[in-house]
């Protein structure tokens, strides 16, 4: 009996220790790396300076949103394209939470050795204005932006408004009467609506939904009067005729919506804010060795040009965007300036962008 108790105690202790040690998630060079397709060299933990041997093991791709979402899908498409141009594999993983904060902060907390790439969306531009995280755009070396979208104003097929001018005219005479769906204070629909309020002087009544899908359903059921999703989400519903597009928030024609009026054509003031929309890109920590960053930028550009990725962009109706390195960082900062200004004027944030040296051009 005594022996059994001792044995049980020892086993329990062993199990406890293994469980606790396995819980340690940060795999920065301490766990055995999976075998590569080519040679398996000795791994160099803390290889921040060993740029010439990079990459010598598989790279972690950390997606800041959950599986199945827009960010996830384009990130995985890019990951698959990268596997074609790299000798090692890029292992994609979702680190979702906190509107993108969890994944971003995770990448910044890892060693800056180029083995953790942050696959992100425009969510990063929201962190500072909305005080979601200490992470800033400058904490990253932006590798590339490879896709973007533009907002499309939709009404249901039973809607009495045939043109955008009809809608605006009615909205002006009946402020805050028309219901507009939105997906949160920092979501793109809200940003576009704020643009409209500022430039055209119209006011709508916000009805909040958890995501594009819910708002689209509500629009189809005539629960709300209009909604402004991004073009690639809107496409199937416009094609099937369930919803009608009245306006495109872009400065040039968007595939699939060629006949729809452009916002810049409606009022020239939109030119200051557009193009603006969701965008997708990848970055590594700013502390990463510049040689490694340069290498990754080349590989991302090559991956972008592959047929498989271009096919994905076409089939998903995502606007091809090609900004690398410095250009990408400048694009992001410009986008942040626009959205921060709008959020500040809408009263959503109390932080004045001017206090942080963030100015719109």
């Amino acid at each position: 009996m005594r022996a059994r108790k001792v044995l049980a105690a020892v086993l329990a202790l062993t199990m406890g220790i293994t469980v606790l040690s396995a819980c340690d998630n940060s795999a920065a060079g301490t766990t055995a790396a999976p075998a590569n397709k080519e040679t398996s060299k000795t791994e160099t933990s803390g290889s921040a300076g060993k740029a010439d041997q990079y990459p010598d093991r598989d790279i972690n791709g950390d997606i800041i949103y959950g599986a199945g979402g827009g960010t996830d899908l384009i990130s995985r498409a890019m990951g698959a394209a990268l596997n074609e141009v790299l000798d090692v594999s890029v292992i994609m993983d979702n680190k979702a939470g906190g509107s993108g904060v969890v994944g971003t902060e995770y990448v910044l907390s890892q060693e800056a050795n180029g083995y953790d790439i942050c696959f992100h969306s425009e969510a990063i531009t929201m962190f500072q204005p909305m005080e979601l995280s200490e992470a800033k755009i400058d904490d990253f070396s932006e590798l590339m932006l490879y896709g973007s979208g533009a907002g499309v104003l939709l009404v249901s097929k039973d809607s009495p408004y045939q043109t955008i001018e009809d809608l605006i005219a009615y909205a002006k005479e009946h402020p805050k009467e028309l219901n507009i769906g939105n997906t949160g204070a920092t979501g793109c629909p809200t940003i576009y609506c704020t643009m409209m309020q500022k430039i055209l002087g119209v006011e709508f009544n916000y009805v909040n939904y958890d995501g594009d899908g819910e708002a689209m359903t509500a629009l189809m059921g005539n629960q709300i009067d209009l909604f402004i999703p991004v073009n690639f989400t809107a496409q199937p519903y416009v094609e099937s005729g369930d919803l009608r597009p009245l306006l495109v928030f872009h400065d040039e024609k968007v595939n699939g919506f060629e006949d729809v009026k452009l916002a810049t054509g409606l009022d020239a003031q939109f030119q200051d804010y557009l193009p603006y929309g969701p965008f997708f890109g990848a970055a590594v920590s700013a502390k990463t060795d510049p040689e490694i960053v340069k290498f990754l930028m080349e590989k991302f550009t090559a991956a972008y040009d592959t047929d498989s990725f271009q096919n994905y962009l076409t089939s998903a109706n995502i606007i091809p965007t090609k900004y690398v390195g410095e250009e990408a960082a400048a694009y992001m900062k410009d986008a942040q300036a626009k959205v921060w200004t709008l959020l500040y004027e809408a009263g959503t944030t109390s932080l004045n962008p001017a206090d942080y040296g963030v100015m719109m051009e």
Partner: protein
């Protein structure tokens, strides 16, 4: 129409479907792995396959997993998946009496029948149901959620006050997180992991899995391992016919609830369990002690909800529940855009999905009846061995949800909390129900207020001009009225006559 037979023209798809069923069933039966998790596993597995086998597998996982959760619910009082919570209410008492074999057979048969009815609804009623689902305004969702809150009273057991406390506790826990409308952090204490709210799987595994294990550990010496009666294991047609009216009602309710975007098998099962309690006045065995009706209702409902969940998915590309959402991602990964254009752009895939759901439910019967003997024996395993295994599985399951250790901490805390609640006879079922309904209730209330411009008269105007809203409102008012002294007066009058 010949597309409907794609499934038979490519018989290897049937193998993928059956494989998914097996995997889903056993994964769903393991406490700690929910059907959503099993489906996510299946998606990563099938990433490199061609679209049709991948989708067939995941559909199989969905159907099998929803059934599979009932196994551990019956044998261990630990639901394998949220949809099986209501199954444990009468399933576990049956196992304690040694009737696990019979219980497992009943759930298998009812799941198949319910699933087939759900599939039938999917095929015949999709256009109608979709029109209906689109009519659901936020005020209707709000009333539906209120209905769910009223149902808390069914789960309270002996003490109404304790049950209500747990329900409100669950609703409170559902409030934690960042509010999407105003980006205000509620009770997150600056912790990034709480910004998207408490992970529901972690709470569920904790309050049901971990707490039950801890509770049973305490009584280790008192628990006598009952030998399970392994007779009555062939499904009896007589039994199916006997309970068919209940099965039919619950399956229809289940299919409908599943079709509403945002509600799934878990809510359907609880609604139908309550319905069974109200409609079956004199069960052979009282509810909560092993009533067969208590198994029939939730199991047929949750499998019917599977069929229902694909109604909005196929018609509009909007998921009816979380696994349908995973199927949408699977389609997107394979380059197929779900949505209203799917039936025209990819008719093969569209009809294959429908065929899989129908055939999958048929194949479920033999698959579900396998391993019943083996599983029944699991209930006879000494607890000293079984409980530590379950605890390990709960840790794995809660970690696997988001690859986040934080969820494990949440699960453990929920488990300890649940343990103390159970010790003092607090029912833990209402916690989960409150938690699930909290978002539905609050978000739709706020939308309703926005849409009636904050005016109560406008709200009632909107309610009374919509037939759907009127019906829901009357049901709610009726349920309330039934609880007031008015009912006692009416009852007394009845007795006097």
């Amino acid at each position: 129409m010949e597309n409907l037979f794609t499934l038979f023209l490519q018989p290897e798809l049937l193998l993928y479907l059956a494989g998914g069923l097996f995997f889903g069933m056993y994964a769903g039966a393991i406490p700690g792995i929910s059907v959503t998790m099993a489906a996510s596993l299946a998606i990563s597995f099938s990433f490199g396959w061609s679209p049709m086998p991948a989708i067939a597998t995941i559909l199989g996982v969905h159907i099998g997993g929803v059934y599979g959760g009932s196994r551990s619910a019956i044998l261990l009082n630990v639901p394998g998946t949220p949809a099986a919570i209501a199954t444990s209410f009468d399933g576990y008492p049956m196992a304690k009496k040694g009737e696990a074999g019979h219980a497992l057979t009943v759930t298998a048969v009812q799941s198949v029948v319910g699933g087939l009815i759900g599939a039938l609804v999917l095929v015949l009623a999709t256009p109608l149901l979709i029109k209906f689902a689109l009519l659901f305004a936020p005020r209707d969702y709000f009333m539906l959620a209120m209905l769910g809150i009223f149902l808390l009273s069914s789960l309270t057991g002996d003490s109404f006050v304790k049950g209500m406390f747990c329900g409100v506790l669950g609703m409170f826990l559902g409030c934690v997180g960042m509010d999407t409308m105003t980006a205000v952090n509620r009770f997150t204490f600056g912790n990034v992991n709480l910004m998207s709210g408490i992970t529901s799987i972690a709470i569920m595994i904790g309050t049901f899995g971990m707490s039950e294990s801890l509770f049973q550990v305490r009584d280790l010496r008192n628990v006598t391992v009952r030998k399970q009666k392994l007779d009555r294991m062939r499904p009896s047609i007589k039994e199916v016919v006997k309970y068919f009216p209940l099965t039919l009602r619950c399956s229809l309710i289940g299919a409908f609830v599943g079709a509403l975007p945002g509600t799934g098998g878990d809510i359907a099962a609880i609604i139908c369990y309550d319905h069974a309690k109200r409609s079956v006045k004199h069960p052979e065995v009282p509810f909560g002690e092993g009533a067969i009706e208590g198994l029939v209702a939730p199991e047929s409902a949750n499998n019917a909800a599977v069929g229902g969940a694909y109604v909005p998915m196929l018609a509009l590309g909007i998921p009816g529940d979380s696994v349908a959402a995973i199927i949408i991602s699977a389609l997107l990964i394979h380059g197929i855009t779900p949505g209203p254009t799917l039936v025209n752009s990819q008719p093969q895939m569209f009809y294959m999905i429908i065929a899989c759901i129908i055939v999958g439910n048929i194949i479920l019967l033999p698959v579900a009846l396998t391993g019943i003997k083996v599983f029944a024996k699991i209930a006879e395993t000494p607890k000293e061995i079984l409980l530590p295994i379950i605890i390990v599985l709960t840790v794995i399951g809660s970690y696997a949800a988001n690859n986040n250790v934080f969820d494990v901490y949440v699960m453990v805390i929920a488990g300890i909390l649940g343990y103390f609640l159970k010790r003092h006879d607090f029912p833990v079922g209402p916690i989960i129900l409150g938690f699930i309904l909290s978002n539905l209730l609050e978000l739709n209330l706020r939308r309703t207020i926005a849409m009636c411009y904050g005016s109560v008269s406008e709200l009632f105007g909107q309610i009374f001009t919509s037939p759907l809203s009127i019906v829901l409102f009357l049901i709610l008012a009726g349920m309330l009225a039934m609880q007031t002294p008015l009912k006692q007066v009416l009852k007394r009058k009845e007795k006097a006559d």
